[in-house]
Symmetry: C2
Subunit: 453 residues, 2 copies
Amino acid sequence: MAQKPSIPKGTRDFSPVEMVKRNYIFDTIKEVFQLYGFMPIETPSMENLSTLMGKYGEEGDKLLFKVLNSGDYISKVRPEVLEARNSTKLTTKISDKGLRYDLTVPFARYVVQHRNDISFPFKRYQIQPVWRADRPQKGRYREFYQCDVDVVGSNSLLNEVELIQIVDQVYKKLNLNVLVKLNNRKVLAGIAEIIGEAERIIDITVAIDKLDKIGLDNVNKEMFEKGIPQAAIDTLQPIILLSGSNADKLNKLKEILSASEVGMKGIEELETVFNYLNDLDVTTEVELDLTLARGLNYYTGAIFEVKSKDMEFGSITGGGRYDDLTGIFGLKDVSGVGISFGADRIYDVLEQMDRFPAETVNTTKAMFVNFGEKEEKYCLPILAKLRANGVKAEIFPESAKMKKQMNYANDKHISFVIMVGESEMEEGLLSLKDMETGEQIKLSVDDLVKKLA
Amino acid sequence: MAQKPSIPKGTRDFSPVEMVKRNYIFDTIKEVFQLYGFMPIETPSMENLSTLMGKYGEEGDKLLFKVLNSGDYISKVRPEVLEARNSTKLTTKISDKGLRYDLTVPFARYVVQHRNDISFPFKRYQIQPVWRADRPQKGRYREFYQCDVDVVGSNSLLNEVELIQIVDQVYKKLNLNVLVKLNNRKVLAGIAEIIGEAERIIDITVAIDKLDKIGLDNVNKEMFEKGIPQAAIDTLQPIILLSGSNADKLNKLKEILSASEVGMKGIEELETVFNYLNDLDVTTEVELDLTLARGLNYYTGAIFEVKSKDMEFGSITGGGRYDDLTGIFGLKDVSGVGISFGADRIYDVLEQMDRFPAETVNTTKAMFVNFGEKEEKYCLPILAKLRANGVKAEIFPESAKMKKQMNYANDKHISFVIMVGESEMEEGLLSLKDMETGEQIKLSVDDLVKKLA
């Protein structure tokens, strides 16, 4: 009996047109990564659950897709475990592997596992899907690609600068206007220290991170509910709402944070990055944003976020420096910095702004109409010649109705259609139709190759 | 406590050097696919188990990786099912999704699901990983890429011919000598009919398929054990061991199979394909091999297999025509034909034959040595200029010891190292070292760009 086919919720098929658009994004990003000396790696889709569990918080553990052990897995489970009917506990007995949740933890695992083969600083990029058992909703999927670029094994702030240059170049090539928001976790730590709440830096940054979404009042409310004293929250206000140029902000911050060693270190790092950027004529706007905190705990220095200036949208790229990501796998004191490009969001922005180059979807350049056996025989060597000259070309594989063949060419965005009938064969010419303009000309094989190659 | 990092058995990490070599294979294959008018699609890694189960035989069902349902999955299982301790039965209650086992079934599902958006004939390629819970062994992995190219919705034998042209071009570009083995399931069906065992075609082809591996005697023994009468096996012998040119074989077959309609149809199809190939000057050898059967049940016409002529190795590419693959999902009478390139095996052949082009691994072209703050400041705009001219270049991010920096350049197969010290800055020149020859010259920035761009 025939099944009505479908795919798991939150997953997607990508059609040829979607694929070429997605590849345009990936190829642009890769090209820039490579210009900066980054090299690709790939890690397996499945990681041991011991590698993944506990790295993304309790919620993250739940969102991992777990893969059932093969064979007669249940025979290895003791009856009392089954009888307890506890899914979380049972899972540890019947599943050893999970699908990767992001590219960061597998990368840290990779660096530690292969540390003897790696020449540091290790500049790698990785473009692969990740999986999360999130509730599917508009723009949020259970399988999606991440494009990560990281340097590990170097403390130099030049790495931060190069990541901003990469952002600058990628979005220029994609023809999108963006704003880079920059902050530094050490500055945030300094602020927490100054207001006497050094231990609460996570609560404070998580709350501040929501400023754009929920507004200042709710941020203050959240901090209060988390137990930050009102006096400390009051002290925070001018700092959160600091304004002026980046230099203005840094100068004011220097006064406020003068008593905090870590805070002053953060300011120095920010100044170094801004100085590099001035020297290098990076034209994308880079704004110091003290409300930028990013939720992830492992960041310890610079943090970045990139927003589209063309339209309201969430962050389309983000990242930061982490001083001890590989520590969880036993390799201490390896600092890294990296960013991640959100391909799905970039796709949506390009689509909504209509910024995909027209030629992206023109994949096959020319199609020969198939008028029958004799004409086909005449056309095939010409088709071979076009392909030998690098022209993407095809012939309709059977002599179907003209309308069907032309519809096919149209649907596939084929630029030119070539027709060879009795008269063309006699004259030794071909008829070439430009599908864009409708214009039709007769020309020789040599001229055809010259025109299309 | 630090964990000793590892990955699930049968899976692999790919290092930068492995990645660029793999990408060389994938890019070569894709380029040829596109020349022939094929377009990419992608399907989700997870499919509903209802899509996958029963498509690969009983053994295949066992080899599917099943993904545990999210949330409190156990609460939905009735106690008696748990108490039965039957893994196969329990799996159906706690897992709805599985990782794809190949690209063929997801493709059939895709075609049926999106049939109203597809313009037929649909020429697609798909390069994605698949997963099988096979026992890991040398050269066999639990996660590996398949590169499939198929046309569906066209009965024309020109499609078979174009697939052979694609094989011809891919392996020429990869600089590998191959032999294409061609057969036709209808001819095999005709043979089974002639020997009076039309119902046993699967048993016969599965046994014949092993001729290369286990020898004629064991093939005959297997057929006998499967219940094929000795008389029929005797009749088969001259057919299996037919020799001479393709034309010789076809002529002899025409006599032997003259009473079988399906057999004669198969011969006609083979002749059509060989005639096309002669007209098109395909130089790769295509051999009619009646012992070629391929295990998969869904093939109904042409079947192909490609072997390396450079070294003994299994099949590196294979495929065939299937008349009703989409039938399982409710779309009848859609014939297709396709082949699959085995990227891992191609990799191994290229590696063992040392046929990867040397430039494949030279990813970063030039590295600036970092002598300190002043020199770095001098170099950064030059580095930016190189990149703006499309040169993959980098600077060592900190002024580490010379030896460390040079080792890094060596390990990364960087072609040129650029050194700028006091004297170069005074002269306005750069020192450029060719890492291959060891040769070192001084030159201006403009000459550097000209040389490397």
